[in-house]
Amino acid sequence: MTHNAVVLGGNRIPFAKAGGPYAEASNHDLLTAALDGLVARFGLAGERLGEVAGGAVLKHPKDFNLTREVVLSSALSPSTPACDLQQACGTGLETVVYIANKIALGQIDVGIGAGVDSASDAPITVSDGLKRALLKANRARSAGARVKALAGIRPRHLAPQAPGVAEPRTGLSMGEHQALTTARWGIGRAEQDELAAASHHHLAQAWKDGFFDDLVTPYLGVAADAIMRPDTTVEKLGALKPVFGGPEGTMTAGNSTALSDGAATALIVSEEWAAARGLTPLARIVDAEVAAVDHPGGADLLLGPVAATGRMLARRGLTLDDVALVEIHEAFASTVLATLKAWEDAEYCRSVGLDSPIGSLDRSRLNVTGSSLAAGHPFAATGARLVPTLAKLLHERGPGTKGLISMCAAGGQGVVAILEAV
């Protein structure tokens, strides 16, 4: 027997720039705040839920069992189980899919998908040389042997190592990869800046309209997304220097996402559970898919979601015209623009195994309340930000309205999902 998994709502904390107001907060702190806000909104204090799935991309070793520890710190019943998942920047969406699948199979009837990242509290590790020397000293049986082992430490061993941001198989950072894609697809500077400005303006308007009143709970005195620049313009963005793609590059700090801190959660339940509580579901989780491309073989790193989108729509007998709203995660403005071009490109779509191009999207249906360029992108949190946001937007437009989420992720991966308002 299968059940309909529906989105009841969500909660996140405002996102902020790394090193900003949440500089002293850990992944644990951020996710606990987001989870407690969700618990309060839906009156779940003391309740045992089926499962909470969460994750972070940048994790300290002490973040072992992060989500379960967060549940224990939260107002939920301590008998609520939890697990950590990680699928790079797709994590927040993948946790929702994981919970929705369990609900669909009848294994649980209520769960939470979540994600968190703190680029401020990034795990700094010691060098391999220092680690080897310390372990050797620890194993030493005599004081002399211990001194000898420790004498092996060289000054160069003492420099802390920041987490790698480069793709392990290409040595290129995500921005450098995207710069290749930007050039290959001929994405211009102006259109990137226009997309970034629109993201800020849309997000600011949504805040002004009170759209986030039941989606966000303030944290540490921050009451709204702190990266958002309501008054930015294409002209202001046009003045920024390129940071990726060399001196002739078109990608700037303004049209690339900032390193961010934040956490987000989405409450996913069975239709029966919602009805028994008298709660109104926002949208049903119709389908989801993950795809990957061979980026070490030269494929565009962040176009992984294209194949997944095409296959998922085809499987459901849907076309782009059936989808009222689209959320494409704004890793970079040029990622969104390249994705849209790829959807229209018959040859590219064929090359990833699709029968026909996905189609052309009317921009008025894209990221209507802004996205990661304006809100920020705490890696694993973004998917759990997108799901409640889109579910609420669809619900406002009435039952049957469908929406698509497309998220690129490291490793050439892409996570996509379809929601339908109920």
């Binding site: 309060a40 909104r41 204090a45 966000v216 709970t217 009451a223 509580r277 008298g278």
Partner: protein, 448 residues
């Protein structure tokens, strides 16, 4: 804490203050606690209302010592906890002597946090009778000022048809520590069909109560106290206060609604949120703001914002929630409570806008109560005096110390004192109490 305040609250500072006549204020007994000592019942006339009500409360009573003119005046052997005087039969000036005769020994023999409670009729009848009704008010207020050790005095007006079940929640509240900071006050109890038969320790079990401004201060205390009494709390506050609002909601096992009550759709959104819980039993309109300035400096914006948040918003919300067509609205037999203020009742320099809004709340509940009686919905207000909160903590120390001591109990009240009074009004057994404004001010020197 300022250097001056630190010095004042230090041990030597306290000793010097005591020498100067500033005594350490009495510790008030709070919560669902009865007076320590016997409850003495004095009956002037034929009425058995007080006797029957005390029986419903499960309290045994003792006979009063009467000052019959012997010298020295007779006294109680040991301290008594309370004196309840059933003065509903007092109609003449001569009968007031009987009141004096039981009050004199009792005032002298009252334990700490003791209670003097007088039951009387509303002003009616001939000229002398109406004059005497008012005389009782003067006696109550004066006794309250003379009592020491945290003891309080209260006058309860009862109508001829009031029965013990109508009065049980009121007498229970007045006698218990819940009324610690209610002093020198008078209010009325009427009569309704199928009155209560006992005092319930969890009177709000399973009932949905909306508390606005619940993120901190008095609002958070209201949420906690009503949750202790069994209520499911919908905690409402502005989105910017969401973090502490969520903490309060989770602490009391309720839910949080981030909402600006002045929004045009505020009533509808409260109802939507409450619909899942099956409708609202009570709304406590606690949210309020101050924008203090002397009138000569008060512009239209300061004027409008205070009146909108403190008064107009609750009228708009009530209109939606009282509409029987609203899914998730206020149920028949429900409760509305507004927050007035001693500033509103007495006026306060620099607070014309605030006083207007808070006096307006008092006027509102008096106006609504008779109109909603048919639906068995009661509408009341509490009027806090100086309450120790984060907000009043920002008043400069010397001024604050003067404010907090300017009442018969020589101290500021606590948020829980306001909350307990609201809990009493929300008690289903309090259905015969409507249209009342109860001051929670320790008999502040200002105010009616």
């Amino acid at each position: 804490m300022s250097a001056l305040e630190k010095a004042f609250t230090s041990k030597p500072g306290k000793a010097i203050a005591a020498k100067a006549g500033l005594k350490e204020p009495p510790r008030l007994a709070r919560g669902r606690t009865w007076p320590e000592g016997a409850i003495v019942l004095a009956e002037i006339g034929e009425s058995t209302l007080a006797r029957e009500t005390l029986a419903l409360l499960g309290r045994s009573v003792e006979s009063p010592i009467v000052d019959d003119g012997q010298e020295p005046a007779p006294g109680y052997g040991s301290r008594i906890g309370a004196l309840v005087v059933d003065a509903t039969g007092v109609t003449t000036i001569d009968q007031l002597e009987q009141l004096r005769a039981v009050l004199r020994p009792a005032v002298r023999g009252l334990a700490k946090s003791g209670r003097i409670v007088t039951l009387a009729r509303p002003a009616e009848g001939d000229w002398e009778q109406r004059s005497v009704a008012r005389a009782l008010d003067g006696i109550n207020r004066t006794v309250a000022k003379e009592l020491r050790g945290g003891a309080t005095a209260t006058l309860v007006r009862v109508t001829p048809d009031t029965v013990a079940g109508d009065l049980v929640s009121t007498l229970g509240f007045v006698l218990q520590g819940r009324s610690a900071f209610v002093d020198g006050q008078a209010w009325s109890v009427g009569h309704t069909d199928s009155p209560a038969t006992a005092l319930d320790d969890r009177p709000l079990d399973g009932k949905v109560v909306v508390v606005t401004g619940a993120a901190r201060g008095i609002g958070a205390a209201i949420a906690r106290t009503l949750a202790r009494d069994g209520a499911h709390i919908i905690a409402v506050d502005i989105p910017a206060a969401g973090e502490s609002l969520a903490a309060v909601a989770n602490e009391v096992g309720g839910s949080a609604l981030q909402l600006d009550i002045t929004a045009a759709d505020a009533g509808r959104r409260i109802a939507e949120h409450a619909a899942r819980a099956g409708g609202i039993y009570a709304v406590v309109h606690n949210a309020g703001i101050t924008r203090d300035k002397m009138l000569v400096n008060t512009d239209a914006a300061r004027w409008a914002s205070v009146l909108d948040v403190n008064l107009a918003a609750q009228i708009r919300i009530n209109d939606i929630l009282l509409d029987p067509a609203t899914d998730g609205g206020l149920v028949d037999g429900g409760r509305l409570v507004g927050i007035a203020s001693t500033s509103g009742l007495a006026g306060n320099k620099g607070q014309t806008n605030y006083a207007a809004s808070k006096a307006g709340v008092a006027g509102l509940v008096e106006a609504m109560a008779p109109d909603l009686a048919e639906r068995l919905i009661t509408v009341n207000a509490v009027a806090p005096g100086f309450i120790e909160t984060e907000m009043t903590g920002r008043i400069p120390f010397v001024q604050r110390e003067i404010f907090r001591r300017s009442n018969s109990l020589s101290q500021g009240g606590r948020p829980v004192d306001v909350a307990e009074t609201i809990g009493y009004l929300l008690d289903p057994a309090s259905k015969a109490v409507t249209g009342q404004v109860i001051r929670v001010c320790g008999q502040n020197l200002v105010g009616a």
